[in-house]
């Protein structure tokens, strides 16, 4: 196991770990805001939840990007030769 | 990293084919049937609306007809009431007139009967009175009666007017007729009476006339003094029926 492999594994782990923190915080905030909005206006629950899902998907995309990067490092590392 | 372009192309084609398939087999038929149901529901609603409108029109017409019937019935009833009232009034008037006429007739008949009855009664009463008087006179002694009558005659002579008395005084003879023959002393007494009142001129003749019922007459040439009950009775009988005021008093009684 050479240095590039070790660096790739560490990079993948850190990418997923750090990349999960930001989206988690963002999703938590957005869900809290959506709950607040639904509590204030229960009749708008449909619109709010649809927008919430779309927003969550958008935020989640960041974590998915990190995951894809990690997978690229693990399985399709261009520097491994 | 390796992308299989064949797979990518095939999957794209697959998805497009699936879109066409589902459009043809799922979405269009379902939308069509939903639309058909909506159209059917709209048609049903329209039909129900039409039926409701028709029913309401029918109801309105029935109502109008019923109102017409009622109005007609009211008119008939009113006319019948008016006719009945008029007939009753006419009958009442007729009956009242009839009753009035009958009453008037009855009154007239009653009056006529009463008048006739009264006339008869009066006549009978007169006759009865005369008869009773005659019977009473017959009961009295004729001489006493004649004497009383002679006294009355003397009073009458006293009450004669001056012209009549002079006429009697200048007469040749004065006839004194009585129903019963006079006694000689009474004749003498009368000669004194006459002389006292009319002077010695006239000669006295005494006649006996039984036709004079309890009466005396003094006949001068132009003067006739009568004092007898027959004449009184005759006068009374002539005066019957009695004077109107007397009859009224009788009626009141």
């Amino acid at each position: 196991m050479n240095l590039i492999e070790v660096a790739s594994i560490l990079g993948a782990a850190f990418a997923v770990a750090i990349g999960a923190i930001g989206p988690a915080l963002g999703q938590g905030r957005s869900i809290a805001a959506a709950m607040d909005a639904i509590a204030r206006q229960p009749e708008a629950a449909n619109v709010v939840s649809r927008t919430l899902f779309v927003g969550l998907a958008m935020i989640e995309t960041c974590a998915i990007y990190c995951l894809v990067i990690a997978l690229l490092l693990l399985f399709a590392n261009p520097f491994r030769g | 990293m390796h992308i299989d372009w064949w797979t990518l192309g095939l999957q794209a084609i697959n998805v497009l084919v699936l879109v066409w398939l589902l459009r043809h087999f799922l979405f269009q038929p379902i939308k069509a049937v939903i639309e058909a149901r909506r159209a059917a529901a709209a048609g049903l609603l329209q039909e129900a609306e039409t039926a409701r409108a028709a029913a309401q029109a029918e109801l309105a017409s029935v109502e109008a007809r019923r109102r017409d019937f009622q109005r007609e019935g009211d008119a008939i009833l009113t006319a019948a009431h008016a006719q009945a009232a008029a007939e009753r009034k006419a009958m009442l008037d007729q009956a009242r007139g009839e009753a009035g006429r009958i009453l008037a007739e009855a009154h007239a008949v009653l009056d006529r009967d009463r008048a006739a009855q009264r006339k008869t009664l009066e006549a009978e009463a007169g006759e009865l009175a005369v008869a009773m008087a005659r019977r009473l006179l017959d009961l009295l002694p004729p001489r006493q009666v004649t004497l009383a009558l002679l006294d009355g005659l003397a009073t009458e002579i006293d009450q004669l007017q001056e012209a009549a008395r002079r006429d009697l005084a200048t007469a040749d003879a004065i006839v004194i007729a009585t129903a019963t023959p006079l006694a000689p002393e009474i004749q003498a007494q009368w000669r004194d009476h006459v002389a006292q009142r009319l002077g010695a001129g006239p000669r006295l003749e005494f006649r006996h006339e039984p036709a004079l019922i309890a009466g005396v007459e003094l006949r001068g040439p132009h003067t006739l003094l009568r004092r007898n009950w027959r004449a009184d009775l005759e006068r009374l009988a002539r005066a019957l029926p009695l004077a109107p005021q007397v009859r009224d008093v009788q009626q009141l009684a």
């Binding site: 779309v54 989640e60 | 064949w6 998805v15 589902l22 979405f27």
Partner: protein
Amino acid sequence: MQSPLETHPAFHLGPLPLSAPVLVTWGLMLALAGGSWLLTRRLALRPGRAQAALELVVETIDQQIRETMRVPAEPYLALIGTFFLFVLTANWSSLVPGIEPPTASIETDAALALIVFVAVIVHGVRVRGWRGYLRNFLYPNILMAPLNILETLTRSFALMVRLFGNVMSGVFVIGIVLSLVGFLVPVPLMALELLTGAVQAYIFSVLAMVFIGGAVEGEPGEARERNDR
């Protein structure tokens, strides 16, 4: 361990290399189209149970399109509905043992994102014309045009990567856990995978609606003018 990023042909049909996702997709196509054909063969005004369920699904998709895009749903119903039904059934096909969801391979997701990309252009041009569609990129001013063009490309890429990452990660994790324990432990993960699959199908459809709706609706000012009229 085999790389989840790569797809290998299962066998060759003449010159045509056929991979596992293509075969599974054909199976899904057969099931969806055949089931639809069977169920819609005899439609009645008084719906049976199956017809009522189908009508509920179609009406729900229709209503979602109308609420999200604020236009009549008719031109987009087949496309969006197919996206939803196909992604949903593809995600849930992992329930069948031995079958890997087609959406877990990046080629299928790339094909779907490509179709959305093309559909946005087609519908935008169809409704607003070339000039109207291209004016979208000049909003709010001409300096933003490169960023708008870049955004159009990246959001399609994000669409692809989102679906791929979610489904593939689920399959990958289940595969790892299955190789470690293999009994009962993967069941909660599989349930979570079902939920994620449904949510991803919904999100993919909604994002497709939003993209197409944005192209059809035009810039916000214009939309407000249209609404005022």
